[in-house]
Symmetry: C2
Subunit: 382 residues, 2 copies
């Protein structure tokens, strides 16, 4: 498909979102009143057996072109409809259709929409603590995060945090460890990062700033021309399947890994807590289960599609490069400094980070044994 047509069709324009956190200064605007083509009746509390149909609207932060991430919300909504015989219907709107991407937080808080599907690091500008529900640099991978959410204090802490804004968070998807971005030139030392204009945001941008790089805030649709013109030197997006669609391989030769700022970013459904409370208890259970099903499904879809795209990219000339250990080490050190600084300034952040990092240390220990040794060995058998 011709690139510009594709971008236009996919709605990856200046108003659309990439998987980059909003910059600190970009305080999300209040959600505007919806102007959807379909009617949006207020959800009526109804017992499951009463026969009344509950209709909710879900504001996704993602364009439809991201069929894996955006598709996760559609998968979930379909499951909910199936399980309720169509009596609980969730209509999914793409990013920007009724609410601008990062504004979904306030839209849910204020009940402009009943729910959203997004990546919580978009709320980094409000409070970096929100990012724990998605990803932080050198954070937990998808399984570790599931363990923290379900058998650590993750769900409790996230419920507390989001509950202050009348939001109930429910995990609903993960991309797995992402790639580390497209570079026009190779980077071999920390000095090579100095002055590097890289499209990246949130915590990752702050970490890279400490290394002397110059993070850029650019919407997904503007990355290609910026890389092409050399306005930026590098850009991160997601992984092979999604990146290939935007054609970055045509304007940047080197594809780095791993995306150490997104080792297992979780997507979540955020529900207005009053609306959640009104749901019959059967529908609450169904909603949670549908999100869990979508959680597995998104990860599976990425894992099935990424290797095929990766082979095609490499076949078309993309050069894979692993981040040099010196750069990883410098970034790790910078991230730890940043967490220490943020913990000092933000007690809420400290509370979650202390719990998260303690849990993560145990997980890293365990994943270095059976899982790690097995994966490493199998990685040699392609």
């Amino acid at each position: 498909m011709e690139r510009r047509n594709f971008l236009a069709k996919a709605g990856v324009g200046a108003a659309a979102l990439g998987l980059v956190a909003c910059g600190k200064k970009e305080e999300p605007k209040p959600a505007t009143a919806p102007a959807a083509s379909s009617p949006a009746p207020a959800a009526t509390p109804a017992p499951a057996a009463s026969g009344e149909v509950i209709r909710w609207r879900l504001a996704s932060s993602f364009p439809k072109s991201l069929d894996t991430i955006y598709g996760g919300a559609e998968f979930m909504a379909q499951r909910v409809a199936e399980a309720t015989g169509g009596k609980f219907q969730i209509q999914v709107f793409a990013g920007g259709e009724i609410v601008p991407g990062p504004a979904v937080f306030d839209a849910v808080k204020d009940n402009t929409v009943e729910m959203a599907h997004t990546a919580s690091y978009y709320f980094f500008g409000k409070d970096p603590t929100y990012a724990f529900d998605c990803a932080i640099p050198f954070g937990m991978n998808n399984r570790q995060l599931d363990a923290w959410m379900r058998y650590g204090n993750g769900t409790k802490l996230m419920n507390e945090l989001y509950g202050k804004s009348n939001i109930v968070p429910i995990p609903c998807g993960n991309t797995g460890a992402q790639m580390g971005g497209w570079f026009r030139k190779e980077v071999k030392t920390v000095a090579d990062m100095h002055g590097l204009k890289i499209r990246i945001g949130g915590f990752a941008g702050e970490v890279l700033s400490k290394l002397g790089a110059v993070p850029q805030q650019i919407p997904g649709g503007d990355i290609y021309p910026s890389l092409e013109k050399g306005t930026i030197d590098a850009a991160e997006w997601i992984g092979p399947y999604d990146d290939q669609k935007l054609g970055f391989n045509k304007v940047a030769k080197y594809y780095y890994y791993p995306g150490w700022w997104e080792g297992g970013p979780q997507l979540s459904v955020y529900v207005n807590s009053a609306k959640y409370a009104e749901l019959p208890k059967e529908y609450k259970a169904i909603l949670h289960m549908a999100c869990a099903d979508a959680h597995v499904d998104m990860m599976a879809k990425y894992d099935a599609k990424n290797p095929i795209a990766l082979k095609q990219l490499v076949g078309s000339g993309t050069q894979l490069r692993q981040y040099p250990k010196v750069i990883m080490d410098a970034a790790y050190k910078a991230a730890m400094e940043l967490y220490a600084e943020t913990s000092k300034a933000n007690p809420g952040f400290k509370k979650v980070y202390d719990d998260y990092s303690k849990f993560q240390a145990d997980e890293n220990l365990w994943f270095g044994i059976a899982e790690g040794a097995y994966s490493s060995y199998m990685g040699t058998k392609r």
Copy 2:
């Protein structure tokens, strides 16, 4: 807890099952008529809204002591009950309570019980092809298997295979990569495996036989005394959390990893296909979603509990050992030979293996990039 009491209470007796496949010669006996204390009315097909309660019985192959694996079925059943307001109730019976462990296959096929929760490599003796729904040596890890099931041909192939016996398979849990067993003495070369009496079964036993080891079929409850007396030299079970309960660390010093024969064993729910067909479509959706929820939950529970147990084991003197590469390589070669031999003799096996191994090769490629590099790096940060 005192060990013998524990084993008695846990029902890990001679009749109970460990996570070892039944030997080829152990053809499961026909399931006997149930003698449960509670009544077992035949499930009545009922539309979701009719108000009739559907009651099913689930035969687990696992003892209650395995709260993670056995608990997976209880978690699923509870979710189903919640989502249906108690109108679809699944009663879970532990291994041996109403059906002997490996006999759950025939019990579901013949509708003695509506469903089972088990590990399909227990059916290895009937046909090794069944094992693809759980694990084969050097097979896919949990995420790769999810990808094959949902976005490869896994579900289609497993539906075809189990459908011949009137069984609908639904994934419901995974343990993640297991440990490689408890050894009384270190093994450093392939020669050290020669004559080694190791408690292991199924494909893994056949692979180890090719290396000169002597696989032993021993129920879970008999492993401890056998290791203690030296009747066997080594035994595999599951991972730190489950192994610690059986106290193997007291009678075998060396704890090997990874369990290359169980890189991501999947547990599944198997449903009688006629009973499945009778379910209202809403309940079908709910059953699948509840299994997906349990799927995430079991993995999360293992990942949360294993590191704590591992630290305690190491603290009490257990010596961790990684399988030497020479042994891994010899086992890998033996496994590939075995798959080639089995493919020649068994066209049904060949059909699934060809698809599975092709998919796996792509997965191994992808997992060696972003996910693998990230995990390896984080493994150095404990």
